[in-house]
Amino acid sequence: MTDTDQIPDKALEKEPNAFAQMMRMLWHDKVALVAVIFLIIVAFCAIFGPWLLDAAATKQNLRGRNSPPFDMAKGWLFVLGGDALGRPLFARIIVAASNTIMVATGAVLCSMVIGSTLGLIAGYTKTRASQIILRLADVIMSFPSLLLAVIVLYMLSPSVTNIIIVLAITRIPIYLRTTRAEVLEIRERMFVQAARVMGASDMRIIFRHILPVVFPTLLTIATLDFAFVMLAESALSFLGIGIQPPEITWGLMVSQGRPYLTNAWWLSFWPGLAIILTTLSLNLVSNWMRIALDPVQRWRLEIKGKKQ
């Protein structure tokens, strides 16, 4: 097996105006462009949503509940319909973006950083520490997340931080084991061996040579984990541990709309769609970045650009 993998990201640094080049590539890949725009909108809602629409999103109207979508008679806020308490779903989805993104980003980032760091150690070193880390991952994988949540609820008071902790802990093993599996293999590759012979420090080998190869897989998992975490969070709210009404998240909206699925589908459909679209966009952007940042792959985007 000839092994001549290259060290990525070098070509990009040489480019006089890397940002402009990225933008140009993005402009040519319309799907990625739409995804990026959608994510910017979500981020905007997460930051400014509660400030702009909080009043509208909490205004109840019991006698005008479950109003169907696409009926503009009650104002543009009701374009996606009303919920079981007559609140406009559109406004609620925008306001909920804030909590949702905070919890999901927090949990995914924490688990990814902790998991992949431990995975790097476990894969790169052959010491006892790596064995301990792996058995710890086994233990976490077998520990029911609900039990963890109940324990946290009893020991600490309910708060957003706690829900992030619970979700992050349960998601650590997947990053840990995936990182380690890849490191086990990359460690043996020619270029890593060569770097080691040339006297590169462990840190340098890990961060300059190994991490860039592992990162794309981690990113793929992380983007899909966003959806998982957003939905799992609502199950923990049931216990009283996480976001409590009248505070709201997309996951909570989805689960509150569940009984209405066959009568008023819009209650859980729109927030669910928000989750799907966010996940989809994250994934598309990460796929695109993976190609755009990889000099070996970049021709795909550039060729397409020239064609158009």
Partner: protein, 501 residues
């Protein structure tokens, strides 16, 4: 060619597997919401166990008529008082248990002993006979005297909850319940189903249903779908949202009452004006037909209107935010800390839409000027707030709870919810304690009026809590069955009452 025929064989095999074994048209399938943990008769007061066991496998001495006919004889033919604390029951003759032994006074005595036995935690014992000492004297094979200390004027009613088991039943949970009822437990495939079949030697009329299969699905819409597709014949509990077919779907009062318990021991809820304001600040009517079913009734007491002593004169507080604000201001002027943050505590999945109801209540209270926050907890945590002992530094709490009393007498509710020693009572009022004790000991019309007075006192004088709704349940009955759910359906499903069209 050979391959093809094997394939066809496989396909036809699969086809026969797909169609269920040919069922007789007098068999029924009932889909319940929860898997049974136990099928011991002494646990039959738990609604999911009761729906299988009560009056099907195990019968009781007396029976409360679900359609409002009062107390009827079942295994006891008649009863009378001997003195204040002793009752004499004459038992039905010619009754045999499903194991072939005959039923007599010995079995009644054993059943009473078993539900309060040490080493066996029986819910019936805790629920109906807790706090009193029961002794029995067997007069002859079919006559028994039962004595209660303290005296229990409604003992025949209490005995409508006692399942009778043969005197050989061991003092541990049984997995093979034996009873005098028209059905026997023939199969229990844990996780999948429970099957009852009809007995030939039942003392009463032979029921129409020959075999009943109980299956368990926790999802509301799946239960409704099963009756719609014909996989099941009866779903005692479906969601209001799925109850859209008038031909099969029925609403029935389920004897549950939703209320807010106010912590009268903590300021500012210890002030009657604040409690009145809490009653005036909510628009109860707005809930009905929206997030609470249209068939539900506004409540003025913790027990449903079919209960004796229920006071028809009590008026549901009118929705009046202005007055609520005025009362709060008045209390504030007198130094009551009305600005202290009140915690509104709800129980997740307590009933359909509970979160929405709590959110709406919160919004109404905040609108009236209450400083309030909402917390929703799963049952285990919620119980810590609802039951004594209460935490010392809890702050003012308002707790949502749903209470079930299908027995027709307030005695099963009032002590626990309102007496100073009551486990879920946040009230310390000697007058209430005395009224409860007096009513509990009274009989006949005197009992009725004493309960009535208590309800009036709690509601109008001291405004002990915020009563909300008497709830309804929804059920779906296949069109081939002749059966109408009643208030009793919440705790039992008598197969003998099911007919076929």
């Amino acid at each position: 060619m050979r391959k093809l025929s094997v394939g066809l064989l496989g396909a036809s095999l699969a086809m026969t597997m797909m169609s269920p074994a040919l069922a007789e048209d007098t068999d029924v399938t009932i889909v319940l919401s929860e898997e049974l943990d136990l099928i011991d008769p002494c646990m039959a007061s738990q609604s999911n166990i009761g729906r299988v066991v009560l009056q099907n496998i195990s019968e009781t001495m007396t029976e409360l008529d679900g359609s409002g006919g009062g107390l009827m004889p079942r295994l006891a033919e008649s009863w009378e008082t001997v003195d204040d604390d002793t009752w004499r029951f004459s038992l039905r003759k010619g009754v045999v248990f499903s194991d072939g032994t005959s039923f007599g006074a010995e079995d009644v005595a054993h059943s009473l002993k078993r539900v309060v036995a040490e080493g066996l935690v029986c819910e019936i014992g805790a629920k109906y006979f807790g706090g009193s000492t029961i002794t029995t004297e067997i007069i002859d094979d079919h006559t028994i005297e039962i004595t209660s200390d303290p005296a229990q004027p409604i003992m025949p009613l209490q005995l409508s909850g006692l399942t009778i088991v043969p005197s050989e039943t061991p003092m541990e949970y049984t997995r093979e319940p034996i009873g005098t009822g028209p059905y026997v437990l023939s199969e229990w495939n844990v996780g999948q189903n429970v099957i009852l079949t009809r007995r030939d030697d039942y003392w009463g009329e032979t029921p129409a249903v020959t075999k009943a299969t109980y299956v368990f699905r926790s999802d509301d819409s799946v239960r409704a779908a099963m009756v719609a597709t014909g996989e099941a014949d009866f779903a005692p509990k479906i969601s209001e949202l799925d109850a859209t077919n008038p031909a099969t779907d029925f609403a029935y009062p389920n004897s549950e009452t939703v209320y807010l318990r106010l912590d009268t021991l903590t300021a500012p809820l210890d002030d009657v004006r604040v409690r009145q304001a809490m009653n005036l600040a909510i628009d109860r009517e707005a809930f009905i037909g929206t997030i609470i079913p249209a068939e539900a009734i506004l409540a003025t007491a913790i027990v449903p209107p079919s209960t004796i002593g229920w006071n028809a004169d009590l008026k549901v507080p009118a929705y009046d935010v202005e007055k609520a604000r005025a009362l709060l201001a008045e209390a504030k002027a007198d130094g009551v800390p009305v600005d202290a943050e009140i915690t509104l505590i709800g129980r997740t999945s307590n009933f359909a839409n509970v979160t929405e109801v709590m959110e709406a209540l919160l919004a109404m209270y905040q609108d009236a000027g209450f400083n309030m926050k909402l917390e929703m907890y799963e049952v285990a945590e919620w119980l810590d707030f609802y039951s004594q002992p209460f935490a010392e530094d809890r702050g003012p709490q308002v707790i949502e709870a749903m209470h079930d009393n299908a027995k027709g007498d307030p005695v099963f509710s009032m002590y626990f919810k309102y007496a100073s020693e009551g486990l879920q009572s946040a009230l310390r009022d000697p007058a209430v304690d005395k009224m409860i004790a007096d009513a509990t000991a009274a009989t006949g019309d005197d009992r009725t009026s004493k309960w009535s007075d208590l309800f009036a006192y709690l509601h109008d004088e001291i405004t002990a809590d915020v009563q909300l709704f008497h709830m309804v349940g929804f059920s779906r009955v296949s069109e081939r069955l002749d059966f109408t759910p009643t208030i009793a359906t919440n705790s039992e499903i008598q197969l003998s009452q099911i007919g076929f069209k």
